[in-house]
Symmetry: none
């Protein structure tokens, strides 16, 4: 991984580490794995996976990736330098980062004298030793090192000489990248420009003066990176300023998730850098997946997407008013700063809500369904899709439901069973530990009505159990299906409990997984619908596999 051209940048995603510091965001190991694989597919070269020493969840996350590695991206483990007055090889955090088994590690160290003396309560010299020992040791264990200079801009402002010494120490120990971090997010773009230029020329000068202190394989001057936070509302501009001043690595997160006001938003940075400024971040053909990646990540972490987010938001290319709309259709340039299709977003006409056939075709393509624009069914699917999306359905993360919808319109949706209705009864007596939930379902299979009842520790579990009980005699393969994930999103949340609910259910059969969606003002009705479609899709997959076996 070396710079093959001056316009090449390396994107370093830290959604899974710094992004999860966002208040209210919490992810499971499975969530993290899904996000990592999606970022890998997008072509992000560095994905910071977590801090294995600090967090048992992150330890397991890296184990999973050792068993099933990513295809292209480097997964990076993150850690602080060793503790003061300890030995690196004996520091449990450092052992944990080695156990993560990644090729690359990111080590964060203190740049600001005040942080060393006040925060760590140690000496400036010891901090340098901590940086050196940690990197030396990790290099001796075969790791390649990215050095994150925490509080860089504050440190540089307060004690320039010392701050530069920390970088020189990291470089001498073999760090291949130096990331300048604006940890508090307080710096403005013009300060970034000045500082990055100054650091670049200082390091060039220093490195040209002194020979390497050891013979580790490395480039003479390590490349600089930038890590910005959005506390001043300028994280994107700060990052761009750093890149224009020579930084080659761009750290950030999907949707700008992160502590306090968030990190630099990669969904804004990548289009700005690649489409406007001519830098190379992703393969050109991949950049059109930015919008779906943004929405995928927000679905997985279960946060409502920011509709007004630059580039990827639902309103980012929304136009109001007739005159404006016809003008934009005549010449989009006059009202759009870039073509929305380039990043996989689309123009939206707010009042007339007109969306094109090309949308459905594009959507079908992303789900692998062949559909032609001259097929009259295409228009019908479009109509149905618009009605459903208006009701709150969303198919970005519910491919199975979308396929069922397509099959319905194309007349090849197989009928495995017919649902007739359900009843749920819940009972809670305060002080008693258990709440019982009882569900009754009625389904018809081959013209025969089946009535079944089951209990569960919640109403949705009871519904699921009753449905399986009703169907398993007809479709024994249902015994191998399992509900692997269940997500609830309240739409238009500020109308309180009267709001609509969207439920996403992920199901599996041991070797495949699929996701279905349900929407209703009644959370149980929405859940039921998603569970029913999950079972139906599992049966569809099973029958397709049987057909494939016979042919």
């Amino acid at each position: 991984m070396t710079a093959n051209s001056s316009s090449q940048l390396w994107i370093y995603d830290t959604t899974l580490r710094d992004g999860t510091q966002r208040e209210g965001l919490s992810v499971s190991i499975e969530d993290k794995l899904r996000i990592a694989r999606r970022l890998d597919r997008l072509g992000i070269p560095f994905i910071e996976g977590g801090w294995p020493g600090a967090n048992p969840k992150d330890v397991q996350f890296f184990w999973h990736l050792q068993e099933e590695p990513l295809t292209q991206a480097e997964i990076v483990a993150f850690c602080f330098t060793r503790r003061p007055n300890k030995i690196a090889s004996e520091d449990p955090m450092i052992q944990a980062i080695l156990a993560a088994g990644t090729r690359w590690v990111t080590i964060v160290g203190k740049s600001w004298d005040l942080q060393v003396t006040e925060g760590l309560k140690t000496t400036l010299a010891e901090n340098l030793a901590m940086i050196q020992d940690t990197i030396d040791y990790l290099r001796s264990q075969g790791r390649r090192v990215i050095y994150d200079a925490e509080h860089w801009f504050d440190g540089y402002k307060h004690n320039r000489d010392y701050a530069l010494q920390t970088l020189e120490t990291a470089i001498a120990s073999g760090a291949e990248w130096i990331t300048l971090c604006d940890t508090n997010g307080g710096v403005l773009p013009h300060e970034i420009t000045e500082t990055v230029q100054a650091v670049n020329s200082h390091l060039s000068f220093v490195m040209s003066q002194k020979p390497m202190t050891n013979d580790k394989e490395q480039r003479t001057i390590p490349l600089l990176g930038i890590h910005a936070h959005n506390d001043s509302d300028t994280a994107v501009a700060n990052t761009i300023a750093a890149v224009m001043a020579g930084a080659k690595m761009v750290q950030g997160t999907i949707n700008g998730y992160g502590e306090r006001c968030g990190n630099a938003n990669l969904c804004s940075l990548i289009p700005n850098l690649q489409l406007k400024l001519g830098y190379q971040c992703l393969e050109d053909r991949k950049i059109s997946h930015i919008t779906e990646t943004s929405r995928f990540v927000s679905e997985v972490v279960n946060l409502a997407p920011d509709e007004h987010a630059p580039f990827v938001g639902r309103s980012a290319f929304a136009h109001k008013g007739g005159l404006h709309v016809s003008a934009v259709e005549r010449n989009p340039l006059t009202y759009e700063h870039i073509q929305p299709e380039k990043i996989g977003n689309r123009r939206r006409i707010v009042i007339s809500e007109q969306s094109g056939v090309s949308n459905v075709l594009a959507k079908a393509r992303t789900f692998g369904i062949e559909l032609d624009k001259n097929n009259p069914k295409t228009g019908q699917i479009l109509q149905r899709l618009k009605v459903l999306e208006n009701e709150g359905y969303q198919f970005e993360a519910a491919e199975a439901s979308f396929e069922l919808l397509m099959r319905e319109a194309l007349g090849n949706r197989q009928s495995f069973f017919e649902v007739k209705g359900f009843q749920v009864h819940c009972d809670l007596v305060q002080g008693e530990e258990t709440t019982s939930a009882l569900a009754t379902v009625k389904v018809a299979v081959s013209g025969r009505d089946i009535l079944e009842v089951a209990e569960g520790n919640g109403p949705v579990a009871a519904l699921d159990a009753a449905l399986r009980k009703a169907l398993v005699n007809f479709y024994p393969q249902i015994a191998s299906f399992e509900l692997t994930d269940y997500k609830v999103r309240i739409l238009n949340g500020h109308t309180g409990t009267a709001a609509k609910t969207r439920v996403l259910v992920e199901s599996g059969n041991g070797h495949q997984r699929w996701t279905t969606v349900g929407v209703s003002t009644n959370i149980l009705a929405a859940s039921y619908q998603a569970v029913v479609e999950g079972l139906e899709y599992g049966l569809l997959l099973h029958s397709q596999a049987e057909v494939a076996l016979m042919s």
Copy 2:
């Protein structure tokens, strides 16, 4: 209103005009008046009130302000230049702007040749005449004029000479301010810097060369303003770049509301410009009202405040983790880019898994609860917190529930009512549109059991309705409470429908909002718990307010 020092800036708020273009935002005349008066109190010098010709609501808004004027601010009416090939004095839009009765008017005109020929379908010369006639006429009617150069940066890029001619025309006609608008929001900070500098020196040169074409009273070179949109996620940085290049008027909106991705956010700009860069925007004593103004405006327009907004967001100065918390309390500088109090925000200690005793103590202080680290209750609270968090509770966003927990441990949790249990019954018949949900609750107030039943369009709405019905006779203030937000998160989602559910409920009483949490494997039990605590906390606030009133 003249520049009395080189660091003086004029803030021009367009929340009431451009801000209302945001998708999903709509305001009544009363809302607009409330916001205008609040901005006036904050000391914003220019408040753009609306476009009276385009909008009957805006006509009435200006009439109201004629009857009861603002105290300090200039209220500004907005309008396009006259239509092509018409006479300014006969254009109904121009008459409407005069009828608004403001001292200042903002006239927007085309700078981009393509917009003139493609959009307006007229000649470049006619566009200049439209600018000239409109400003001439308004000046003759005693108005002072701000000229907004629409699509300035695109126009300047495509046809520099023509773009500059439009400005020269506006100046010659007597415009006192020239605002450079990035209408599509596509420009990046370095382009702003170059362009603003170039315009400034061009205009200085031109104005020094030619005598005024008429004898209207005006300064030789009008002052420049900047109007930025956030489509590139750099509106704040773009505005700062323009100011550093010489712009003296800063246009923007509260909370960055605006079409598509919004306008430049004044809540970020004012602190950056005044506290970090030394410009004068507001009186020093007024800047601490920024946070409450931000929240006030979001309440009035009924949009959830962005908790992660820079400077004014609830999470903007939030700290997690015990070590981190004690460090920030020792030396806030190390983890905060400015003092939150300066802008009326506050540091928040987030209660989370990583909490230590210092978090609990810090949190207690913010609730006005006296707690000492030597108090044995402190350890008990921390213990209870860890047990609950292990069960899936999360108090980061549910401070009301945390306060109830503290009061419980300290023995001063007031008992307003006692919950005994609930029953919920849901029924869905496939094909019928409605699903009915019926809830029965049993609560005890002052030793008396109350049994109530209610319906809802979902089970949680039914539970909420039944609880209110049971309590409103005892606590009539409950009628003013409302459920303002409802969030559901499935914990350990991969166990499917058997997973635990965490519900967050936000409640309000018209002037305060609070959040409570419930956790259970049964989503209805979790919702019930959060709704119950929401009602209890509302009653607590009400009784505290009564005590305060009596003392």
